[in-house]
Amino acid sequence: MSVGPLCTAVFVPITGMGSLFKPAVFFVVLLPFGLLVLRVLQNSLGPDPAQELAIETGEWTLRLLLITLCMTPLRQLTGRLEFVRVRRMVGLFALFYASVHFLVWISFLLSFRWFAIAEELVERPYITVGFAAYLILIALGVTSPLAMVRKLGRNWKRLHRLVYLAAILAVIHLLWILRTNISEAVIYGAILAILLGYRLASYVGKQNRTAR
């Protein structure tokens, strides 16, 4: 799998129904944020709104990360380029939700007590892990414009493989905070395992083909 064809695919003009796909995805992934804003305005987040916001934004970050990771396999399985065309956008939305999640945590949950925030980052493994995942997403977001893709060349792909690590860390982050019922983390973890397994299988397959 090389960067070339996927990158050039982005520049091929699309016509017909395909051109609506990207804006449609844009609105769908923005919708959860819109609904959260609505609940904030209606004051209907329950008696502990900060906690609720943190839970919702965290979950949407993880969901969007997993959806991002679905795009390449979906293109390969269906042959449809639309999936790869929205990959970066969905990934950036994951970064967006992660940023809101982080802001909710430092503002509403920790009231900008910087010393406490620093202590939390160091002392609580689940927070350290979540923050590491967030830093990775920032690095990927910053290097996502096409100019950066060109500038980094082969290294771009190496760097962006870190998205796998970010997703793994995000699942660990969730698993660690759940108190007893770990079903959610198990489901997300299973989806991630399938997505990573798919990549491993196609990598091994390719190695075998080149070896022959």
Partner: protein, 346 residues
């Protein structure tokens, strides 16, 4: 027991504050009434929710689930809380709706609204408690026989959850010591252990494959903790009988400890010589201790404990307050832990 969703509660069904207070003969105590009214007025302004937050929201529909008549009768004569700490706090009461819709009761599910939404099949009548272990009067007791000789009183306590949120709850019940003494614990009884009901038919959370609690939920106290006057058994809140999600028909209230110690829907009381293995210690001993005293200086691996979010909150008027040692009840309970290193016995 029929529990309606809050949306189903018509404003006309909500017991007006004046009625609630009359019923408890609060009028006798005019100074507290004025304090209460002042607090209610203030909180009403802050929250701006349907007038005030202090109004008793015990909806008629809940009482309409018709508690057995002997129990309903008990609720007509409740001794009001004294007007000073530790049995009363002047802090704003958490509204009934929040106390009854924001619960950790994993037998009904993991989310905060699961206990209120999924407990409509839960039955509390008939109810009995099995008393076992180091006591002269071990045996099975019907709830009616347990409650018969006890007078109900009100206690307004702070409730501090280990998840760093807190509420102020007007409980109805009786001192735990009054109950335990009737079973005549022997000199060997150094600890008392409690168990919650496990009923897969009416408690959907216990059938979940991913819930890693080893049911039944178990909690315990050292005997001197259990005999402390603050330790309380609640059978009601806001002047009416306890809803299922709050631990009906009777639950423990130990206000100087994190909320998970205050075990709900008790079916077994076991007196023992050795410290019991409680559910959270069993699950994660590195995170949860047997004592679980509220302590701002001992941080839980998951949650900072130096501050708490007093519920209900809104995003832009947050009540983010300092957590106090023993949840502010140090004068009453600190002597129980003299000489103990609270970082070791957390």
């Amino acid at each position: 027991m029929l529990i309606k969703k809050p949306d189903d509660i018509k404003p006309s069904e909500i017991t007006p504050e004046s009625v609630y207070r009359n019923r408890r003969e609060f009028m006798k105590d005019s100074s507290k009434l004025m304090l209460g009214a002042a607090v209610a007025g203030m909180s009403g302004m802050v929250n701006g929710q349907e007038g005030d937050a202090l109004k008793a929201r015990a909806p008629a529909s809940l009482e309409g689930s018709s508690p057995p008549s002997w129990l309903a009768k008990k609720f007509t004569d409740i001794k009001p809380a004294p007007d000073s700490e530790p049995f009363f706090t002047g802090e704003t009461l958490t509204p009934y709706r929040d106390i009854t819709n924001y619960n950790n009761f994993y037998e009904f599910g993991m989310d905060k609204d699961h206990p209120s939404r999924r407990s409509d099949k839960f039955q509390t009548d008939p109810w009995s408690i099995v008393v076992t272990g180091e006591a002269n009067k071990a045996g099975r007791y019907n709830l009616e026989d347990i409650l018969k000789p006890l007078d109900l009183e009100e206690r307004v306590y702070r409730l501090r959850c280990v998840e760093a949120w807190s509420m102020v709850v007007p409980w109805i019940g009786f001192p735990l010591a009054d109950l335990l003494q009737r079973f005549e614990p022997s000199s060997k009884a150094k600890y008392v252990e409690f168990e919650t009901l496990v009923d897969p038919e009416t408690m959907p959370g216990v059938t979940s494959r991913f819930a890693i609690v080893d049911w039944p939920y178990r909690e315990g106290l050292r005997m001197d903790e259990a005999m402390n006057p603050l330790a309380f058994i609640a059978v009601g809140l806001y002047g009416s009988i306890l809803p299922a999600q709050n631990g009906a028909p009777l639950r423990l209230v130990v206000p100087w400890k994190y909320g998970f110690k205050s075990i709900k829907s008790i079916v077994r009381i076991n007196f023992r010589e050795t410290q019991p293995l409680t559910s959270w210690v069993d699950l994660q001993a590195s995170e949860y201790g047997f004592y679980a005293n509220v302590n701002p200086n001992v941080h839980h691996p998951r949650w900072r404990q130096d501050k708490e979010r007093r519920l209900p909150q809104t995003l832009f008027s947050r009540k983010y307050i300092d957590t106090r040692l023993f949840n502010g009840y140090a004068d009453q309970v600190a002597h129980l832990y003299e000489g103990m290193n609270l970082s070791v016995y957390y």
